[in-house]
C-alpha cells in the first residue's frame, strides 16, 4: 500500500502548510500530469516527434517546487522535471512551445522538449548529457556563496542513473569541500531507461553515497508530496543558512516508458507497472486531502478542469506560432554577428 495513504490513515502531518498551499500542491501535480499527457497525445497524433513523461514523479517535484524560493533560488533541473519547473512558475506555454519546436521557444526550437531554460525565473539551461549539468549547479552555488548572497541556494536534480557518472561524483565532492549552498536531489525511479537499480549501483539507497563526501544524505518517500516538501525544505534551509550541501533521494516511480522512443514492455512486465501504478502519488494525495477535509471531490474536479483548460489554451496558442526560420540556425553561435566558414 502506498505510504501516503498510510500517513492519512495514521494521522495527517501538514508540515506547517496552509490549506491553500496544500491545494496548490495538488493543482501542481494535476497540471504536471495534464501537460505530460498532452505531450504523449500530440505524439500519438503525429503532431510532434517526441515526448518524455514524468508520471510517478509528481509528488517529489511538487514538494520540491514548494521548497524552492522563487526570485531567489536557482534550479538546475533535469529533463524529467516538468512538474518542478511548472511549480516554480514556468508558463505552460513555454513547455508547449518546446514540444512544438516553435521559434518563440526559449531555445528557439533548438532543444529537445523537456530541456528547460528560463533565466528570468532562475532555471539554468541544460543539455541532454546525463549529469553534465551537476557541475554547473555547483558553480552557480559557488557564485552565490562567493558574492555573499546568504539566503540563496541552488537546487539540482537528476535520476539515480546519473549518479554513476564521473561528473556527478566530481561535482558533489567539489561542493562538499567548499561547503556550498546546494541541494542534490535524486529522483530515484529505479530505472535508467531499461537498466534497473541493481545493475546501476551496489547500494540500496542513493543517499548512502553521501558518506563518501562527508555530507548528510536522506532518503524519503518521493511519492508523498508532503514528506518530499519537508525533506527538501529542510535541506534548502541548511543550504541557505550556510550549513552546506545535502544529498537527497526521493524514491518515486516511472509509470511510463522512458520516452516515446522507448517501449518498456521489452524489459518490464505489465504486472510490475500495474503494481507501481497502485501507488499513484496523485490518487494517494487526493485521498489524504479528502480524508482530512482539505478539499472535496468537487474541488478536485474543478482543479482538473482548470488545468486542462489552461493546457488546452497553451496548446492552441503554441501550435499557432511559427517555426524558427532557417536563418535562425546561424544565430547565437557566438555573441554578435557570425559568419560560418564558407
Amino acid at each position: 500500500m502506498a505510504k501516503a495513504v498510510t500517513a492519512a490513515a495514521t494521522g495527517f502531518e501538514r508540515y506547517g502548510l496552509s490549506d491553500d498551499q496544500l491545494v496548490a500542491i495538488l493543482r501542481n501535480m494535476l497540471l504536471q500530469r495534464t501537460v505530460d499527457n498532452r505531450g504523449f497525445q500530440l505524439n500519438r497524433q503525429g503532431k510532434i516527434p517526441f515526448a518524455l513523461g514524468s508520471e510517478g514523479h509528481e509528488a517529489v517535484q511538487a514538494g520540491a517546487a514548494l521548497a524552492f524560493q522563487r526570485g531567489s533560488d536557482i534550479l538546475v533541473p533535469y529533463y524529467r522535471d516538468l512538474g518542478l519547473v511548472l511549480g516554480i512558475g514556468m508558463p505552460i506555454l513555454e513547455l508547449l512551445l518546446s514540444l512544438f519546436a516553435r521559434g518563440a521557444d526559449r531555445s528557439g526550437g533548438r532543444q529537445f522538449p523537456n530541456h528547460y531554460t528560463n533565466r528570468d525565473i532562475g532555471v539554468m539551461s541544460i543539455s541532454s548529457i546525463i549529469a553534465a549539468h551537476v557541475p554547473h549547479a555547483v558553480g552557480a552555488a559557488y557564485a552565490i556563496k562567493f558574492r555573499g548572497e546568504g539566503g540563496r541556494a541552488v537546487l539540482t536534480t537528476f535520476g539515480e542513473g546519473a549518479t554513476s557518472e564521473g561528473e556527478w561524483h566530481e561535482s558533489v565532492n567539489f561542493a562538499a569541500v567548499h561547503g556550498l549552498p546546494i541541494v542534490f536531489l535524486c529522483q530515484n525511479n529505479e530505472f535508467a531507461i531499461s537498466v534497473p537499480q541493481a545493475k546501476q549501483m551496489h547500494v540500496k539507497d542513493v543517499a548512502q553515497k553521501a558518506a563518501g563526501y562527508g555530507l548528510p544524505g536522506e532518503t524519503f518517500d518521493g511519492l508523498d508530496p508532503l514528506v518530499s516538501y519537508d525533506a527538501i525544505r529542510r535541506a534548502m534551509e541548511r543550504a541557505r543558512s550556510g550549513e552546506g550541501p545535502t544529498l537527497l533521494e526521493g524514491k518515486c516511480a516511472r509509470f511510463l516508458s522512458h520516452s516515446t522512443d522507448d517501449d518498456d514492455r521489452t524489459y518490464r512486465s505489465r504486472e510490475a507497472v500495474l503494481e507501481l501504478r497502485k501507488r499513484d502519488p496523485i490518487a494517494s494525495y487526493e485521498t489524504v486531502l479528502l480524508a482530512n477535509g482539505i478539499v472535496d471531490q468537487a474541488r478536485i474536479e474543478a482543479l482538473r478542469r482548470e488545468v486542462l483548460a489552461a493546457t488546452n489554451e497553451a496548446t492552441d496558442e503554441a501550435e499557432a506560432m511559427p517555426l524558427p526560420t532557417q536563418a535562425d540556425l546561424y544565430r547565437n553561435v557566438y555573441a554578435g554577428d557570425y559568419e560560418p566558414w564558407q
Binding site: G109, R110, Q111, I129, G166, M201, P324, L329
Partner: protein
Amino acid sequence: MAVVSAATREMNNVEAVRETLHDALANDPRTVILGEDVGARGNVFLITKGFLEEFGPERIIDTPLAEASIVGVAIGMAMEGMRPIAEIQFADFIYPAFNQIVGEAAKTRYRSNGDYTCPLVIRTPYGGGVRGALSHSVSVEALFYHVPGLKIVAPSTPADIKGLLTAAIEDPDPVLFLEHKKTYRLVKGPVPEGHFVLPIGRADVKKEGSQLTVVSYGLYVHQALDAARQLEGEGVSVEVIDLRSIRPMDRETILESVRKTRKLLIIHEDNKFGGVGAEIAAMVAEEALFDLDAPIRRLAGPDVPAMGYAITLEEEFMISTPRMREAMRELVQF
C-alpha cells in the same frame, strides 16, 4: 567495389550490425558487448535484441550510466585478452569517454611498445536527419580522426557494415565504428553470407565517372549516388567514392580518381571547418595540385554547434540531394 561472395541475403543496416555482432559472439567466446541498455532492452535501436537470452548477462553487459567506464573497463578487458565491443548509446554521449579513447586506448600499444595491446571496438550511432535535436544528431568523426593509434570506420551499406565490423572486431587495435542512424532502416542491400571481411583503410568507388570525383561517407553517400545518377541523364559523369575508413584514409583511391576526373567535391554532414574534408582537400592539394582543373570544393555542415530540433533548422543544416546535384553540376561546368 567490394568483393562479394556468391551467396548474399538482403537486409538493412541495422540488421547487418546485428547479425555481424551475433556472429562475433557466436564464434569467439572472448567477445562481450557492454553498454547502456544493451541487455533486456536489446539496445535502443533493438540491435542486440535477444542477445541477453542467448549469450547471458556475463557477455551482454548492461553497464551503469557512465561512458568513461564503459570504454575504460573494455580497455582493461582487451588488455587482459578479451574481445570487448563497447557501445556508446548515441555518439553525442561519447565525450565523457574521450580520455579513455584518446588518452588510453589509442596509446596502449604505443606507450608499452607492444607489451600490451588494445583490441577494442567502440560502436556508436551518429548523424542527423532524424529529429534528434542538439544532442542526438552529432557527427564525431572529426574529433577523433586526428588521433594516431585509433582507427575510424564509417560504412554506409549493409555489406560494408558486415565486412568492416568483422574487420574491426578482428583487428588487434582499437577501432571506432560509426553507424549513421538515419541509414539504419533506410538503407538495404545484399550482404554476403558466411565469414566476410573487408580491409579497413580502403575506400570504395561506388559509382564510376569521368568528370568529377565526389568523396563522401555515411548517409550522404546514398544521396550523392542519387544525385550522380540523376546527372547521368544530362550526360554528366560523376564518380562517387565512399570513404568507408576515415583513419587510415585511402589516399591512393582518392588520388587516382582525382587524377582522372581532375575535379574534387567532398561532401559530409559534419561541420566544415576542421572536418574530415579538410584532410582530404589538404592531401590532394599536396599530392595532385596540378592535376586539378577546378578548386577543391567542400559541401559540408554549416559551422554551428548542432542542428536544431525544429524541422526548419534540421533541414537548413542537412544537405539535400538537389543541393548536392547543383554543386556537382557547377563543378563539372567550372
